[in-house]
Point group: C2
Chain length 459, copies 2
């Protein structure tokens, strides 16, 4: 969680991103000599001849046919919105939104969030093609297996090096799901994986910016396009993943091939997928859960004198912000998390808004939380005691928080989370209809019955 | 050239690309138990709620606005063809075709082929927006500088590791060129570079497949989209290139920041760009050049008894194929190269066709070539003596081949190459008009005057 094993990182690099931006924006152009300007024309002219000369090549035909599969737009729904776009753009945007709140699923062994790349690609393609819900479910299981097994093969070295592993393996999962939906044969599916292998996306440095959720969206798009290209006869190395200068050996020093092959088709990594109950880092979850359990036992904010919280040192190290000033800081405050648990019984994106973080009752309650370090308590646990004004003490110990593999969210928990996310966008009635449609997806003759419900514009 | 310094490469990996393809294609679906099938529905449902919940977020608005900039298609020309597509797809396809014949430009210090990613992106955007030729030339110089300086910073470690450096730096050059064309300010240009930094493309394992030319095309597309996203307010880390878990430190252990900053804006890497006169690996170029010089001195195939060729051992190691059977093998045959030089005086893509490789006069002449190793001769040189049937000997020593930095192709040489590439596609008259338009690009008020000429459908 606080892993920092990157070898000899250079923390003192000059700000070359900004230096280059200043150069790009500030250079007047034509400030160079005539020889350079002529070289620019030579470079342009040579490029133009090469491009025109090869414009009838098989590679050009296949690539053009693949991009023409995106026309005419619109083909697929931007979930939650009335706009429709081509299926590759839908994969991109739905991949972005599904990860924007950091509220999606987690394959804990690799901390891959697998649905973003895989499902965003699969649903956009299936909507355009009118596939069955059964086909989407199958593609989801298989695509996620490919992405997570690839992650297992390289984790943790690949992640420690700086890759956002969700998207740097996700394009393979998306390609697998789309190849399956398109019904590609084994050779073309090999090509789809190969084309995708050249497009790993995502750097951990982007965490905290919009480019973080761009990563799964970009991976969804890249995987979908790789499958479309393969379907049109585009070629790649059939050893793109494993060759010495292929994907795995280029982006990771750990390449445990056995993680790919062992029990492939028998054991599925999807079995180890988990869902986040709270819209914040997992390290605060046990504390929020414990306070939500106090609430469930009848404890109210008004009667609380003090909350004594005992946690592992890591919790305060990462989320020890006592006086968060806005929603983002609230995500790094176990004090705010405890207050949300007790006052709301849940902590979704709304409970990490600027407004809620600054609500007087929330501020007052979080100041009553006294956190102490006890390294006898596991990182995954929390020990909370509420001291009430009438002298009573209510104690809750959470060994494994809700949402962990040991104590998964129930289907009802997921429905509560879904409803709180979807109702503000589409209304309660539509949220309920979507819930019914999602649980029955495996029986749906056409996924478009569901995607229509996900857009406010249509029915 | 024959570099192979990758540390402890694993050459014995199982064929996991094919193994996964077999699994994806062959698994019946639903072969798993009901619990897994239910988990698939939970994963789908949780993903759907997250995507709808965040669908009004600023990131969604910015990404949607950026992809809507691609509509309505068509916006830009597929060079050499009558089809028009959206500008991002045009960047992709023109980037593919410009590299398909391996005949484009080379920044020798890094073996980056810089025009593919940068110019493919810039011209597609400029065509759609109606920019001036001057703006495209400026964007080309600056974009190529960004890509090649990034290459200098990481070469050779990054390349040795397995990255196709043309495209794994090219998305930055394309982003720079497009940011410049869009007139983004310094902050948004920083964001454009940042978004692009998360999308390095290209593995050397793909060499020999269509995915090799896909790399510069994909980089062009990624760079263009990064600039469009930044223009709509999408954010990235302002330290995306240099941070410990940013681009450079994630994809290279060599990060020489000075290569970015030293004389930035004063010295331009474009000055070191070269153009390939022959459509094959550079190691054969001196031998082809020498035989073309024999031809220029009046030697004809019919009068040749024997050709004595002395070259560095590397030449025969890499291109020693005595009896090539098709065009691709011809590219690895210095014997075929010599025959092409003497018979045609040039060796473009046509001279490496299956038909030409098997032409009786070519087969007969290449069998008269006797190659011997002389390591006193540099890799960049060739020593050729033609022994004629009348007893005469004609000797040519090439120290630096045409197309090298020491002996660059002249503008007339480039025109010959261009004309041979373009005439079969667009006809001689159009090739001549394009030549005039390209040399005058810096004065063109609107690049669309040129792009119209590059399509057979329009005028």
């Amino acid at each position: 969680m606080a892993r920092n094993t990157q070898v000899s990182a250079d923390h003192n690099a000059p700000p070359i991103t900004r230096i280059l931006a200043k150069f790009i924006v500030g250079h007047p152009g034509r400030g160079w000599d005539d020889a350079l300007d002529h070289e620019a024309h030579r470079t342009f002219y040579n490029w133009l001849g090469c491009a025109i000369g090869a414009s009838r090549h098989d590679a050009a035909n296949a690539a053009l046919a693949a991009v023409q599969m995106l026309q005419p737009a619109p083909q697929a729904t931007v979930l939650g919105r009335s706009e429709r776009v081509d299926m590759a753009s839908a994969a991109l945007i739905n991949g972005i939104t599904s990860h924007t709140f950091d509220f999606d699923d987690t394959h804990l062994k690799t901390i891959i969030h697998p649905a973003g790349p895989v499902v965003s690609a699969a649903l956009a393609l299936a909507e355009h093609a009118g596939h069955s819900g059964r086909a989407v479910i199958d593609a989801l299981v298989i695509g996620i297996d490919v992405a997570c097994r690839t992650g297992n093969m390289m984790y943790p070295e690949h992640y420690d090096r700086g890759w956002h592993i969700t998207s740097s393996t996700g394009m393979l999962g998306a390609a697998a799901a789309c190849a399956r939906l398109l019904g590609l044969d084994e050779q073309k599916t090999t090509m789809a994986l190969g084309i995708a292998a050249s497009q790993p996306i995502g750097l951990r440095e982007q965490f905290g910016t919009m480019t973080k959720p761009f990563h799964p969206g970009g991976a969804a798009r890249a995987g979908l396009m790789s499958a479309l290209l393969a379907s049109q006869g585009f070629t790649a190395s059939p050893r793109a993943l494993e060759a010495p200068r292929g994907f795995a050996q280029t982006v990771s020093t750990k390449c445990d091939w056995n993680e790919i092959t062992h029990e492939l088709g028998q054991r599925f990594e999807l079995s180890f997928n988990t869902y986040k109950p709270f819209a914040c880092g997992i390290v605060i979850h046990p504390s929020i859960d414990a306070c939500a359990q106090l609430r469930a036992q009848g404890v109210t904010a008004g009667e609380v004198e003090r909350i004594e919280l005992k946690v592992h040192s890591l919790v305060l190290e990462l989320t020890g912000k006592k006086e968060p000033v806005d929603g983002l800081e609230g995500k790094f405050s176990v004090y705010h998390g405890c207050a949300a648990g007790l006052i709301f019984g849940h902590a979704g994106e709304d409970e990490f808004s600027d407004a809620v973080v600054n609500r007087p009752d929330m501020v007052a309650l979080r100041r009553k939380v006294v956190a102490t370090v006890d390294d006898a308590i596991d990182e995954a646990s929390a020990d909370v005691t509420a001291l009430l004004k009438d002298g009573r003490r209510v104690h809750v110990f959470v060994e494994h928080a809700i949402g962990s593999l040991q104590r998964p969210m129930t289907d009802r928990d997921l429905e509560g989370k879904f409803t709180r996310l979807v109702t503000p966008v589409l209304g309660a009635a539509r949220a309920a209809e979507l819930t019914t449609a999602a649980w029955a997806l495996g029986q749906a003759p056409d996924v478009r019955a569901l995607t229509r419900l996900a857009s406010p514009a249509s029915r």
